[in-house]
């Protein structure tokens, strides 16, 4: 049995043929049920780190382990994202032509084969985030805070063990931001889900178990 859900060893990420450095020789471990906040200025590599943790991007050098195993292919990472990892984006990334209920149900296609069951599960998740009455609205009809709640509900669709949140309050006003952070904290405590949150906002640092700072692609 291992305690680390994510382990990064000597990870570097370069762009434009090694001309642009995003991360350099980074080693990091995230434990189960931990809340880790990653803070740093804009362009420091925070989001890149988060993307590497869930396979949305591949390191130029180094290794990324999830639950002790190193996924080798896009397919393996996609498999993990459908079952164990939820992602919350700064810009929500909801599909505007689908209703909130349909957006929440989208990740369930891989695991839940009954349309009726998917609908029921999605409605339960919307109730948990307080948006059951908005199930049949489309994202353009929702406020920023409501959209991010839908995104959080979507990230919980397949009962993940890890949620990665990339500046989840970046596009929200302070009141909505506080509400979203409260929701994430509640999920972290009740569901015992590991959370890795990226932010550049110091006021978002009061929720975590551990805080790391990244500057110019390295952990300070």
């Amino acid at each position: 049995m291992y305690n680390a859900i994510i382990q990064l060893e000597g990870v570097s990420r370069y762009y434009d043929g090694n001309c642009v450095k995003a991360l350099e020789d980074l080693t990091l471990r995230v434990d189960y049920k931990e809340w880790l906040t990653i803070i740093g200025p804009s362009g420091s590599g925070k989001s890149t780190l988060l993307h590497l943790m869930c396979g949305l991007d591949r390191p130029s050098h180094g290794h990324v382990f999830f639950e002790g195993k190193e996924p080798r292919s896009i397919r393996e990472w996609t498999h993990l994202r459908s079952r164990k990892i939820g992602f919350v984006f700064q810009s929500f990334n909801l599909l505007p032509t689908l209703t909130t209920l349909e957006n929440v149900a989208l990740p369930m296609f891989e695991l839940v084969h009954s349309a009726k069951q998917r609908r029921s599960n999605a409605m339960d998740l919307l109730e948990r985030v307080g948006l059951a009455n908005r199930a049949h609205h489309r994202p353009p009809q929702l406020s920023g805070g409501e959209r991010q709640r839908v995104a959080i509900a979507r990230s919980l669709a397949n009962s993940p063990t890890l949620i990665l949140a990339d500046e989840p309050t970046g596009n929200l006003d302070s009141s909505s931001a506080k509400s979203i952070m409260g929701l994430l904290k509640e999920i972290h405590i009740k569901e015992k889900i590991t959370i890795v949150l990226v932010t550049h906002n110091p006021s978002m640092m009061n929720y975590d178990d551990r805080l790391i700072k990244i500057i110019d692609g390295s952990i300070v």
Binding site: H51, G55, L56, D57, R58, I74, R75, T78, H79, R81, S82, R83, I85, F87, F89, N93, L95, T97, L98, L101, E102, A105, L106, P107, F109, E110, A115, R118, R119, R154, A157, N158
Partner: protein, 373 residues
């Protein structure tokens, strides 16, 4: 929510583009049905014409590309009758003649006492008697086209013939013909003692081995003549082979154009939905599911094209077959096998046109797709 709902929403997001692509496939399907249906219609009309007469074997000059250009001595019929298994022989002179009405029609000259006359189903008037040397019978369809009734006269190359009766066989080619006595037709064409073909009726045509034996004996005895069983007549005809090839080639080009339309539409669609595809990958949709979604979009357009095109093609074929210039030569053939063939081709092009865009979609790096504007 089902995958099908997402697919339908994707298609309806760009209704004009989806409709144009579906219409392109429909046109390809319609042209396939019309062109191949026409060429098969010509073959069927000819074959049915022979079968209506109770002819089992048709004999014509060996090496003739076009049946109408062949010429044989009428006297050969006696020699043909000597072959064991041959019950009747009827010489026939056939030609395509333009009437003053502006129509080109098939005219056939039959020996006065041959069995072919008995196969005609006279609906009005009567068969010409042996005394009515300039008598003629006319098919129902042709009679209607040129407004001819029994006892009316018809002029062919300045010679006058009297229509004694109207027949109806129920096939386009038969009902579009005019039939004269052979000697009168030979005189008209300046081909005394000549025929284009011999119609042979056998004693036991249902016996396949007997049929084979008779054909073999005929070939051995008359190497200068081609003997073809009625059901095979259209397969061996070189002109029909050319027509068939032309119909297929033109249809293939139309289907190929349909393929490119699907490819283009889905390439544009995938490009526009790059970010959306990135989101689907980010939330855990497998490559196979994304690929399936895009391929099914292509299949939807192909299916829509098949349904629309089938209706259009059948209507077009019936309209073409009804044109005066074509009447009497073509019997529109819309078989289930024709519809299935073109459906299979359209489904193939729906899949083929969507595979590359789908492959491109799943090859995208998710993070690059998410950042795509």
């Amino acid at each position: 929510m089902r995958l099908i709902n997402i697919i339908l929403q994707n298609l309806s997001k760009r209704p004009l583009r989806s409709t144009l692509t579906t219409s392109g496939i429909a046109l390809a399907v319609a042209s396939f049905i019309a062109l191949v249906g026409l060429s098969r219609g010509l073959e069927y009309a000819w074959m049915k014409n022979l079968m209506d007469r109770d002819t089992h074997i048709l004999a014509y000059s060996a090496g003739s590309v076009e049946l109408l250009t062949g010429s044989m001595d009428e006297g050969l019929s006696d020699a043909l009758l000597q072959i064991d298994g041959v019950r009747d022989v009827a010489g026939e002179l056939i030609d395509l003649i333009s009437l003053d009405y502006g129509l080109a029609i098939l005219i056939s000259g039959w020996q006065p006492d041959c069995y072919l006359w008995q196969s005609l189903q006279i609906k009005e008037g009567h068969l010409p008697t042996l005394q009515e040397k300039q008598g003629a019978v006319i098919g129902r369809q042709l009679a209607k086209s040129i407004n001819i009734r029994p006892k009316d006269k018809i002029t062919i190359r300045d010679q006058s013939f009297v229509v004694t009766g109207i027949f109806e066989q129920g096939s386009a080619m038969s009902d579009g013909m005019l039939i004269l006595f052979l000697p009168a037709f030979q005189e008209l064409l300046g081909r005394p003692g000549k025929v284009t073909a011999f119609n042979l009726r056998l004693e036991h045509p249902e016996n396949f081995k007997n049929l084979e034996r008779v054909v073999k004996n005929l070939f051995n005895r008359f190497p200068e003549i081609q003997f073809t069983e009625t059901r095979q007549i259209t397969k061996n005809n070189k002109v029909l082979k050319i027509l068939r090839a032309m119909a297929w080639s033109t249809s293939a080009i139309a289907l190929l154009m349909g393929l490119f339309m699907v490819l283009n539409t889905l390439m544009m669609s995938v490009n526009e939905r790059t970010r959306e595809i990135g989101i689907l990958s980010a939330i855990g949709w497998s490559s196979s599911r994304i690929l399936t979604m895009i391929v099914i979009e292509g299949l939807f357009m192909a299916t829509g094209g098949i349904l629309l095109g089938s209706g259009l093609g059948i209507g077009l074929l019936k309209w073409l077959a009804g044109l005066p210039q074509v009447q009497g030569f073509i019997e529109p053939q819309i078989s289930l096998s024709l519809i299935l063939e073109v459906s299979a081709a359209a489904i193939f092009l729906g899949i083929a046109g969507s595979i590359y865009p789908a492959w491109r979609a799943v090859k995208l790096n998710p993070i690059d797709a998410l950042h795509y504007e």
